[in-house]
């Protein structure tokens, strides 16, 4: 299958890329990993007049923690870079748990986290992870840089808040209040499939007490669901069977799954509660060990 014809630009700097985007007046798409964009172009769901390939821009493949604890992931950081980083589970446990279950191993060598967020697939894994973590996207354009929280970034299926002349140059996670823990669990029929259910949990804690929490749900609604009410019941509490049970129940109630070939709505709701419980219970042990 061939996509329709397009012009191709491969700028060498972020400034050049923004300039090309500005001149294209909204008719260009940015190509990073291309693992969703290229298939969509081949199926002619997308027919951009121009592709702006950012893969030749040096200095965007990073992922690291700032001295203040802000965790930054550049626009060309591939899923596999996160998957193979042995230090990541301690620094960003939710991201580290999600990276190995994105798509399949070959797609992970090309695909990027920032690209996935921009692609804004309603059933994408990274949006729930980054929402649970309170992460943001940094956009750079002719008017400078701005940060957009991931929970606001997507304004519709496959749509985001970027202006046509803005480039998403990184995603970041703010520093934790206290210690960070969390996880991501994904139920999929086979590797490479969309999540039947995906649950992202982020917990920040001081001693045994939760200072901040986030829960993001994949595959159980028209798009990513932020289960804020469920996360909220954990704040100020310690993780015990009671608080975990309430969070799991609320997350399950907030989810809006539909019955389809991946499973019935009731089954998916049950899995949401199970995954929230599993992740939080594993953290409970971690907290106890640390204490």
């Amino acid at each position: 299958m061939y996509p329709s014809r397009f012009a191709y630009e491969a700028p060498a700097t972020v400034g050049e890329a923004i300039d090309v985007l500005r001149r294209a007046q909204g008719e260009a798409k940015v190509l990073a990993g291309g693992q969703s964009l290229v298939p969509m172009m081949k199926l002619r769901f997308a027919s951009p007049e121009m592709l702006v390939d950012i893969n030749n821009i040096p200095g965007l493949a990073y992922h690291f923690a700032d001295p203040d604890g802000t965790y930054r992931i550049g626009a060309l950081c591939r899923h596999v870079d996160l998957e193979k980083d042995a230090d990541l589970p301690a620094q960003q446990p939710t991201i580290a748990a999600a990276a190995p279950v994105i798509a399949d191993p070959i797609v992970r060598t090309r695909g990027t986290l920032v690209g996935s967020l921009c692609h804004a697939d309603p059933q994408g894994d990274w949006a729930s992870v980054m929402s649970a973590l309170g992460g943001s996207i940094v956009a750079e354009g002719p008017r400078g840089r701005r940060s957009i929280p991931c929970v606001d970034f997507v304004n519709g299926p496959f749509q985001n808040l970027l202006e046509f002349d803005e480039l998403a140059i990184e995603a970041f996670v703010p520093p934790p209040v206290g210690a960070r823990s969390g996880g991501y669990l994904k139920l999929e029929r086979r590797i490479g499939d969309f999540a039947t259910v995906g649950v992202a949990v982020s917990v920040e804690s001081t001693g045994a007490q939760v200072s901040r929490a986030g829960i993001g749900l994949t595959g159980v609604g028209p798009s990513t669901i932020c289960a804020d009410e469920a996360a909220e019941v954990l704040v100020g509490q310690d993780l015990n069977s009671d608080t975990i049970h309430r969070a799991a129940e609320l997350a399950s109630e907030i989810s809006q799954p539909r019955s389809d070939h991946r499973g019935s709505a009731a089954y998916k709701r049950h899995i949401v509660a199970t995954f929230v419980t599993r992740i939080l219970s594993s953290l409970e042990l971690a907290t106890r060990e640390a204490a």
């Binding site: 299958m1 693992q35 191993p105």
Partner: protein, 182 residues
């Protein structure tokens, strides 16, 4: 320069944008003018005549079109040829030398790691990348690494055995090499 006939079709409008790219495929340099929409898989198969790279699903699922891009496995149906400008590509034709098969190929031969053979090039290249990184993988690690490559004959058992055998073969080769130099 390679013939451009299939790369820029004759019926293409005169103003069709064309990009010049230089890539190394199996160690050989090629300079070609291509339409930006040409997929890497089609460049390899049609422009360079290396038909060992198979296009299976054409929708980024099956991994039959896997090639190594600077040593990493990529689905060549999901990359444009222009993206490979200045990069090194290895296809299945690059595995064997003039006189001998790659240990991966030996493994697939000895363990009967193929039935219809359609997925085999992708399987072998993904396995090659795995063994370059991890010379002593467990069965689980092999299954995990190959999980982006589908075999519709469902011949996975022997494929996994083939990679295990290849890994053992490679380690023996290395041990023998060390003995010779010591």
């Amino acid at each position: 320069m390679t013939s451009l006939f299939e790369v820029v079709p004759e019926e293409a409008p005169a103003d069709t944008p064309v990009r010049r790219l230089t890539i190394s495929v199996n160690g050989e340099q090629h300079t070609l003018d291509v339409e930006p929409r040409l997929l890497l898989a089609h460049l390899v198969r049609q422009a360079l005549g290396l038909t060992g790279t198979h296009v299976g699903c054409d929708t980024t699922n099956c991994g039959a079109c896997t090639v190594l891009f600077d040593g990493s496995p990529v689905k060549s149906c999901t990359m444009f040829a222009v993206q490979a400008d200045g990069h090194e590509i290895t296809t299945v034709e690059g595995l064997a030398s003039a006189s001998e098969l790659d240990p991966i190929q030996e493994g697939f031969k000895d363990e009967h790691g193929l039935q219809c053979g359609f997925c085999t090039p992708g399987m072998m290249l993904t396995a090659k990348a795995l063994l370059n990184e991890n010379p002593n993988p467990t069965e689980d690690e092999i299954r995990w690494a190959l999980s982006g490559n589908l075999c519709r004959c469902t011949g996975y058992q022997n494929i996994v055995k083939a990679v295990l055998l290849a890994a053992a073969g490679l380690r023996n080769q290395e041990d023998a090499g060390e003995d010779e130099t010591s």
